[in-house]
């Protein structure tokens, strides 16, 4: 697991300051069918390699971040505030 996370608001901080929510996925529309919602809520790819996740900087700026990390090498490729890039853009 990535042990130093480059928070865009706070700088490099240890993982102990963060809470991980899980994969950063595009949320289906409210009227999407149950298969789409089942997929979104329960099914994960668990890739070996690049992975995008929501992390909350709980003991820092308390902002939601999107961390792009490699599940194999533990390297963090990018970290941005979740509000950068509008939510509607991320919606399918």
């Amino acid at each position: 697991m990535a042990s130093l996370v480059p928070c865009p608001n706070c700088g490099r901080r240890p993982k102990e300051e963060f809470t991980i929510k899980g994969a950063a996925l595009s949320r289906p529309g409210a009227d999407a069918d149950s298969e789409n919602w089942f997929d979104y809520v329960y099914l994960r790819d668990n890739p070996r390699g690049a992975y995008e996740e929501y992390w909350h900087h709980t003991s820092g700026c308390r902002r939601w971040l999107v961390v792009m990390r490699d599940t194999l090498t533990h390297e963090v490729a990018a970290c941005r505030d979740a509000t950068d890039g509008s939510r509607s853009e991320r919606r399918k």
């Binding site: 608001n9 706070c10 700088g11 102990e16 003991s59 820092g60 700026c61 308390r62 902002r63 505030d81």
Partner: protein, 177 residues
Amino acid sequence: MSEFRPTLRPALGSKQPVASATFGLSTLPEGTIIHVLARPGEQDVAHLLASLNGSDPHALRPVSPDQWFIVRDAAMPNQEMKGLFAALEPRASGVDQSHGRVRIRIEGKMAQRALSKGTALDLDSSAFPVGQSAVTLIGHIAAHITRVSSDAFEIIVLRGFAESLWDDLTRMGLEFS
């Protein structure tokens, strides 16, 4: 009616300050702490805050994007606080945290060394100069740290954690006391 009456007493009232040549720990007055949160999209709220604060000695401490603490040693009269909150609207909102958070001062040549035992924050003055603030963990306790001079820091911590943090800080400074 119950005979029990809660009494308001300082959170760290029973603690003895630490004062050695290289390490000092002391409590700061439980005066005023106001948490200010800007509405999303508002620009330059820091300027607004600076203009509203009047002449009483105070400090404006950044907390996180669009959030600040207004800190004063003295208690702010209710009317004045109401006026301040009204003046912030609609661009920002204020919340009185004066009884919810406690301030601790840690100072001395070895203060930085002692504090570094508990936090991963880079406290070197090149990365964390005078006037800089940050929220971070000290051990397992979330705290807001400000460098107030080259050898002194002010820590703001939730009241319920203040005693525990004080004891940790005392222990971190033992070898310098």
